[in-house]
Symmetry: C2
Amino acid sequence: MNTQAHSPAAGDGTVGKALDVLDLVAAFGRPVRFSAILEASPLPKATLYRMLQTLTNQGMLTQDPDTQAYALGLRLVRLAHEAWRQSSLAPIARPFIDALAAEVQETVHLAQMDAGQVIYVDKRNATDPIEMFSQAGKVGPAYCTGVGKAMLAHLTPDRLQDALSRQSFHDHTPATLDTAIKLMRELDDIRASGVAYDREEHEPGIICIAAPILSSPARVIGALSITTSTARHALDTLDGFKPALLRAAEDIGGAAHDWQFPSDDPSAHSPS
Amino acid sequence: MNTQAHSPAAGDGTVGKALDVLDLVAAFGRPVRFSAILEASPLPKATLYRMLQTLTNQGMLTQDPDTQAYALGLRLVRLAHEAWRQSSLAPIARPFIDALAAEVQETVHLAQMDAGQVIYVDKRNATDPIEMFSQAGKVGPAYCTGVGKAMLAHLTPDRLQDALSRQSFHDHTPATLDTAIKLMRELDDIRASGVAYDREEHEPGIICIAAPILSSPARVIGALSITTSTARHALDTLDGFKPALLRAAEDIGGAAHDWQFPSDDPSAHSPS
DNA sequence: CGGTTGGTTCCACATATTGAAACCGCATCT
DNA sequence: AGATGCGGTTTCAATATGTGGAACCAACCG
């Protein structure tokens, strides 16, 4: 019934609260002491205390022995390593992204959708060395990024509805599509052309061309983008990347599909 | 009382179980269906079911709509992004690692210790492009890796004891130090010389020189290693890297210290 | 069409979580 | 020194939560 997913104030049971605490600690972005967490949390002192202890025991948090500040634990990193491997299509997409980045000599992003937000799971920077984990895991808005729009455009109606309801439509730049109506119209174009553009809608001077990655029939499982700046490319020259981008996106989609249904999955899916 | 930290069968409360389930799913390394998890878990059907539902609600797991297989969720990736930023010293160490890798033209690892295990939080591969997240988050044994031994050597007695009790002492290669006694003896040498070697103890043909990263008085907060193969370097030529390695380790330790105690922390620590 | 596997829901019971209040240690203030 | 306050830890009864055996439903298979 409850279409509402997590995000703040999800509140299923004890683990919900525990995870909220994790988010809370994460939000600080640096080690925090007990009292700081306390006043940011709705939980009463004693409860929070035990929760923190439990989480620390579990390795989800670590507590500095000197300053007794809590920070996210390494178990999380360990888990995430797995999460990244299995839940994201990053590992599958890797070779294609490498190739694409090398070919176009621009920054390439691989993103997925989570709770209406875009989450970058990989990035290849053709010029600079690399940015690594510092980028993977980053989240961003869906309504004003190329990858976000590319994915939105190919969502099923109900999922789109859900996703739209989560957008905050803040005006990042003058070009930002700041209403659901404008966005919807653009999504039609995107569906038609097969690619989405970010026309400095998120950050001034930054533009990109993005394509959805589709699996099986027509499920979006991610998006791929080539990002550059107005200093390097005019908006309309972005189309030069279109063939390479689309090819890479298709290749990744195909690879993902093959990986999901190697040939033996007994409880298969509805015929394609 | 219970020195035992997490790992399987930790069992504090509900969240403990929830996290165990996460580990379980992670262990599969690929999306798994309900029944598969069920038979790997001690939990009864109904309980596990609700647990999975909760975790899915919370975004810690995702369930494929077609095959209803569970996989680690993107929220985890998001959290880990933060965890990596704040709990690990990777972000601080980054520039130093880059420099070191460039200087020595060999693979450089940055690792930390968690529950007696080594966890790699960063890696720089001087020759190949990069390995990214695919490496960060990886865990390995402490007793037979350079970084592991370097950290063990500088643990406080009680922590060392705890860590040792968690080692499994499996013979990876003929050179593996397979008993606590042998290991202890080696730790003395490491303390004396300031660096640890991996003499093909983990993988044949792979050798490394590692140094602990120390903060404030004498707390190990991580370790740094330069890894190469017997094909490229003889064991005794590794010493050539020693100065650069030690310098980098010291620099990182210093930077971490400055970062931890910028200058204003009111509830400071014992005078340094 | 009946048997089986795989997943979901019920419900009485027990356990784990709750949170006000008391407590401790330690630094600071007078 | 002695008092005061703040940050962190512990206790304990009330109760909300999670538990898990068993029944249930659906879909697939023979």
